[in-house]
Amino acid sequence: MKTVLAVLTVVVTLIGIWYLACVPMNIKGVLDAAERAGEQVTPATARERRDASALGLVAQNSFAIPRVWSVERPRLPAPHQVATELWDTTVMKKITSKRSLIYHAQVTLSATLMGFAIGTGLGILLAVGIVHSRVMDMSVMPWAIVSQTIPIIALAPMIIVVLYSIGVQGLLPKAIIAAYLSFFPVVVGMVKGLRSPDHMQLDLMKTYFASQGQVFWKLRLPSSMPYLFASLKIGIAASLVGAIVGELPTGAVAGLGARLLAGSYYGQTVQIWSALFAAAILAAALVALLGLLEQVLLGRMGVKP
């Protein structure tokens, strides 16, 4: 309850700041339009206004302030503009429509989930290998870290094209980029988790003369669960970023990334922002879903609530 109140306060404050920020951000565009419409603005020409400070312009042209929140192509759209766009493109459109954000979100979601599945599977396998094989541990782990310093996002177009050329199209290329971004947190978390049993717990298994498999299934895997979920949450957010980035190079085909790009291409800032928010909401929902799954699973495993 207290938390809800606090969050609300912060959100309201942020929205307030946002509305305020619209004023200096959008004033130049508003004044340009006013000038074209023949109104008196100071300074009179766009050239002069280019080098003037935004706050100065606001002070000199206070009549224009109310208009900054309803510009059609704003530098910074007002919150209600974004909200309206979100509403219009989700609730008000058939979800099969290409103009429906839900349609695009679902395209992105499928790539995200596929990539997440691949990345998580690979990450867990790699972690199992690393925990059980010293060679893997010593040789693969440093390179896994280096791999993350490669800006895969910059390579996304090439990956798409290369996969394209061997006939892989559609979901999979995006999913591969998503997987690349999500596998690393899973490896790190899972290695940590599989190594989390303490000496005593491992020794106990040794006194039972348990096989490696038994140690894995009965000890390492259950104790890795909290770590796994923590990294899954990071992984799925990363996976979503990967899917969106994977949608950029193929241009305006479909998906939230495509919406983002198309919005950017046509200077539709409101569309960019609503795509961004849709993505964030999607990410938050996915993370929350994982959190729920975690609670249920860990609850079943008897972890103290």
Binding site: L219, S223, V303
Partner: protein, 275 residues
Amino acid sequence: MNMQMTSRVDSAMDRAPDAAVIEARDLNLVFGTGETSVHALKDINLTINKGEFVSFIGPSGCGKTTFLRCVASLETPTGGSLTVNGMTPEDARKQRAYGYVFQAAGLYPWRTIAKNIKLPLEIMGYSKAEQDKRVAEVLELVELSGFGGKFPWQLSGGMQQRASIARALAFDADLLLMDEPFGALDEIVRDHLNEQLLKLWARTDKTIGFVTHSIPEAVYLSTKIVVMSPRPGRIHEVIDSTLPKERPLDIRDSPEFIEIAHRVREGLRAGHAHD
């Protein structure tokens, strides 16, 4: 699981056949090499016979845990010989010759008490029915019947510790190795568990190796008290208890008890280098 004689009997000629469960001859263990090496066990000679209750006491770092771990083949000695049931500790471990109780209960938090006790049984391949039977039995034994479905955190520390003892008792090992099992408990609970442990020992005729920091506990429980001293870890003195097998709690106020406790304390103090 009965004692099995292997070809290694020669190394244990001076013990009464089929009585010695643990036999250490000039046992040495050095951790690490070079400057930072620690001589954890030095020239340990000790025979523990079937049915004995042997306590190990000594200041921190004197090698009590290390010795128990050697017996359990969790640590490998660097010199001398050690046999368990007449075989190498490793073979004994593979035959699941002992149950081990750690200082902390170390129950797996994601398993219920019953499932925790089942753990060794699952690993050793007992049948489902047998598993259930044994769990019920040992839960009864440690007075935890009815708590099988609870998770560890729902139990008090003392109950958890009892569950961990039950876990070590669930399968057929004649040897029980316990490393400060009651170290974390308060005195009253501890007294109670001591009493129960003694009863259990009397009833089952197991051999018990028991590490403790508490002099009264050692005296109250043991037939033999091994006083150790540190740096390097070695046996300072072995004190045989003259107390009867039947021991009510208030035996601790008896002069005989106090006399033994005094001897142990003197032994400890003599072997102790303050840090």
